[in-house]
Amino acid sequence: MADLSKQIQDQVLSARNAGTKLNIVAGGSKSFMGRAADPDASELNVADHSGIIDYHPVELVLTVRAGTTLKEIEATLAEQGQSLHFEPPRFGDQSTIGGTLACNLSGPARPWAGSVRDQVLGVKLINGKGEHLKFGGQVMKNVAGYDVSRLQAGAMGTLGVMTEISLKVMPQPAASLTLVREMAADQVIEYMNARAAEPKPLSAACWLDGRVYLRLSGAKSAVEATARQWEGEVLEEAEDFWQQLRDQQHGFFNRSEPLWRFSVGATAKQPPLDGAWLIDWAGAQRWYSGDAEKPRLQQWAREAGGQVSLFRGGNRDGEVMHHQPEVLAGLQKRLKSAFDPDGIFNPGRLYSWL
């Protein structure tokens, strides 16, 4: 619970002077993601740079140090009847907001409530020159300068050390209810998307083990009226189900095969690949656990209008992200140089060439 930004800045400057590299770490709960950390880089631990700086429930805005845990943030918001609507996965009590944004992680509500990147209003970050810079702000509309804050989403710390993050927060829904019914994988894509195209308070849509789960959230009367109109049984202990999905604690996520994440067009047909599937985000996010090779998975992701990445397990020394075309790779290399000219931060964590 302290402001350690000055110390972090000093560490960055000494690394720069010494020509060494830094691996940025806070809770360490997402170390399984991305490519393996460079063993020659030293650890820059920012977990103690934590604490809530500013929170005005009526403004719907929260500003925290990047090392603040999701646990602390959510407890604070809950006291005011608010929450992080993007439902970030908690891979442990030590998961932080900085890591969540760097990895661009959001949970089941994402297609309706937006992602962590959507809720970011501003960041402070220390770039590779050791400059402590502020982008965006604490207001919902801000178009002055480039959107450097949201650029950090998915960059996995390759552009700088985030020190402060401002987020939009939202009131918790008054009521919530989940409908479940049996359905085959080849029917569920159309079913979920057809429901999502109705003006009803849908807040999550997922398919797992031959069942489709639709969560309704909002005003009590609206949730109950929709539940009467749609088919399906009301799921008991629905909160547990969504929590396990959100935090990837469900048995599906414990399989021994590599876990791949597809971010694709929501209506793309399921591919004929052997292995286990979990379909979330009404089809826009699909998890695959199996032994298919990356070229084949990439080929399908392209056909489905999206991308694939190796989320957990498998070979962490190869490329784990979707192949980047030459022009995009060039742009990302030049952006990396623009923020971190000496390549200090998280070398090779996102791509082997960055």
Partner: protein, 491 residues
């Protein structure tokens, strides 16, 4: 900044006529005249040439030609922008995307649409209507403004609190880079691997590339929408009522405020039946399912009464809802009727600072001898002060600009920003140095160089040069000294 072009106007026109229909390579002053400014007509410049390509490969060739000869390129959609972001460059071309005006496809099941950049914002919702869908962001200029311009400015509208800005409603863009390469950023999915380049492109004001296709998300049309209008005796109470609604857990589809000057002007214009003696007016629209709207409207009415509203009226029909909105939506032209000219500002502030900012603004209004009316996107803190002036009175526009600048400084001082949705363009380039320090501005310039090393895309907009900032700060410093001296004399 770009270097001098290495080619003459005649040679350049000749090159363009080699691959673009010669009728759409415009080089005479008379035909180029309409392109000399955008919606911010106080800033004008005549370009070297205007070109209107019809295919993406022509756009690529335009960029290759301009990159080779270091010719500045200013992309232009409908030209409705309010920060002179599409003002031409004297040594460069205007690249109009007006011919790219087709809706390429709408996918009702996936709830998305593929659009050419010149498609008008409102045309998207009109085309999606038969599927029960619409496009969320609705800037006031939505009848005319184009989706390409919306991407460039990250446009907002009155529904941002609940439905987000342009950046929240895009899936992908097809982009022509400065050297003519064609690349897709984003995908049909909701996110991509690696740095979020979609976010970086959105709101980049034509400084990073030329957008030639846009894929947007569509939303299901709410079953019903109703608006509650509440009048208040003072701005503080109205501001507190906005906080009260949100603290209650209601996120309205739209939440707008007007001050006393704007209420009277808008009511004269639209005959909307506004409470003309009120000092502040709230329009709170709730949308969703019938059950939800019914529940929330009752709660909102009760809350407004409890929080001191002097009048509360709820729309009972679509016609009445449209009428109540008509006043707000015509607030700008309405104010235009009570003054020869008006200058629209676009700061954003934390909502809690509203009363303070309006009080300070009243003081400044007296100081500068200029009237100001306020309309406010209360839900998201975006303030649009309209400064009333007469451009025919010598020196009055300069005074207006100085007043506007002070308002933006105040917005930054209370924790807000200099532009919520209109963009920086040329108009607010000086105030960039208030919101950002030299290191931050240098970082922006480095981002720009990663996309456009020779600086030919929309030069002179968005991000000020280092020299520009230093001169501005030193000028501000001197003015501050003069003010301080004057204050001490008064004291």
């Amino acid at each position: 900044m770009s270097e001098k072009p290495t080619i003459s106007k005649a040679e350049l026109a000749e090159l363009f006529r080699g691959f673009i229909d010669p009728a759409f390579v415009i080089d005479d002053a008379e035909t180029m005249k309409p392109y000399e400014c955008d919606g911010m007509s106080m800033y004008c410049e005549m370009p070297l040439l205007v070109v209107l390509p019809e295919t993406v490969s022509q756009v690529q060739d335009v960029m290759r030609t301009c990159a080779r000869h270091k010719v500045p390129v200013v992309a232009r959609g409908a030209g409705t922008g309010l920060s002179a972001g599409a003002m031409p460059h004297a040594e460069g071309i205007v690249l109009s995307l007006a011919k790219f005006n087709r809706i390429l496809s709408i996918d009702p099941l996936a709830r998305s649409a593929r659009l050419q950049p010149g498609v008008r914002n409102l045309a998207i919702s009109e085309a999606a209507d038969r599927f029960g869908l619409y496009y969320g962001p609705d800037p006031s200029s939505q009848i005319a403004c184009t989706i390409g311009g919306n991407v460039a400015e990250n446009s907002g509208g009155v529904h941002c609190l609940k439905y987000g800005l342009t950046v929240h409603n895009l899936l992908s863009v097809e982009l022509v880079t400065v050297d003519g390469e064609l690349v897709t950023i984003g995908s049909d999915g909701l996110d991509c691997c690696g740095m979020d380049l979609m976010a970086l492109m959105t709101g980049s004001e034509g400084l990073l590339g030329i957008v030639t296709e846009v894929q947007v998300k569509l939303l299901p049309k709410p079953e019903i929408a109703q608006v509650v209008m509440a009048g208040f005796d003072n701005v503080q109470q109205a501001g507190d009522a906005v906080g009260g609604i949100i603290a209650h857990g209601i996120i309205p589809g739209g939440l707008e405020m007007m001050d006393g000057h704007a209420i009277v002007a808008a009511d004269d214009f639209a005959k909307a039946g506004y409470p003309r003696d009120a000092k502040a007016l709230l329009l709170c629209e709730v949308d969703g399912t019938e059950e939800e709207v019914h529940e929330h409207i009752e709660q909102a009415e009760a809350l407004f009464r409890k929080l001191g509203a002097t009048s509360v009226r709820t729309s009972q029909s679509e016609e009445e809802r449209a009428l109540l909105w008509k006043g707000r939506k015509s607030a700008f032209p309405a104010v235009g009727r009570i003054s020869p000219d008006y200058y629209c500002m676009d700061g954003t502030i934390p909502r809690s600072q509203l009363a303070h900012v309006l009080t300070e603004m009243e003081k400044m209004s007296e100081e500068f001898g200029l009237r100001v009316a306020n309309v406010f996107h209360a839900g998201d803190g975006n303030l649009h002060p309209l400064i009333l002036f007469d451009a025919n009175v010598p020196g009055e526009f300069e005074r207006t600009e100085a007043f506007g600048s002070k308002i933006l400084e105040l917005c930054v001082a209370v924790g807000g920003c200099i532009t919520g949705e209109h963009g920086v363009g040329v108009e607010k380039i000086r105030q960039m140095a208030i919101q950002f320090n030299d290191d931050e501005l240098a970082q922006f310039r480095d981002v720009k160089a990663a996309f456009d090393p020779d600086g030919i895309l929309n030069p002179g907009k968005g991000v000020p040069t280092l020299r520009f900032c230093q001169e501005y700060r030193s000028l501000e410093h001197k003015q501050h000294d003069i003010h301080s001296n004057a204050d001490s004399t008064h004291g």
